[in-house]
Symmetry: C2
Subunit: 110 residues, 2 copies
């Protein structure tokens, strides 16, 4: 079995929620404030705060306080981790397919 | 707002579950049978069947009946879709960053 990866668990938990994906859709276009996110998505500031916390904990977003305004943006770390997970699962499988091809070629040659 | 994407909803729902990710871990190493999956993960055949159905519906795995044995393997379609989603979110954001850099350079040049 592969090793436990608590980061990927957090990432998939974060991405499992449609409101959090809607937040990322918005942040991928431009950084914005917590207030604007709440307005755009029609949810309370408290709810946005909770979703952002989960996105921050998984490395998919980050927030920064500039003066009195909290600005949120996409963070690359979570996306990097997710891409590595995909690559890992895809490549292991593709290597197996290559090996299978070699075995078939060998058996045909006999 | 971005368009609704029911496929990505299904993919993230599928990947939100640790047992389904454990199934993909295993399939990424090699195709296997439903029975072996159930044994390896210590869950019932019924549970494996339900998880596989969700993985198939999201294009992440596929099953094939060869004689009396049902064999499961990784399917690339779901992984392709997931990669496109990441690229889309990342690239929109990176384009914005580039544009921000240009604006800063312009304002410094004035």
């Amino acid at each position: 079995m592969k090793k436990k990866d608590p980061t990927i668990d957090r990432i998939f938990h974060a991405l499992g929620d449609p409101t959090r994906r809607a937040i990322l859709d918005r942040l991928s276009r431009a950084p914005t404030t917590v207030t604007r996110l709440a307005e755009a998505l029609g949810v309370t500031l408290t709810a946005i705060g909770q979703h952002l916390q989960i996105l921050e904990d998984s490395g998919l977003a980050r927030t920064e306080k500039l003066g009195r305004v909290r600005t949120c943006s996409i963070h690359h770390a979570g996306f990097d981790h997710l891409e590595a997970w995909i690559r890992d699962h895809r490549s292991a499988w593709e290597k197996r397919l290559d090996r299978l091809g070699e075995l078939l070629a060998e058996s045909e040659g006999q």
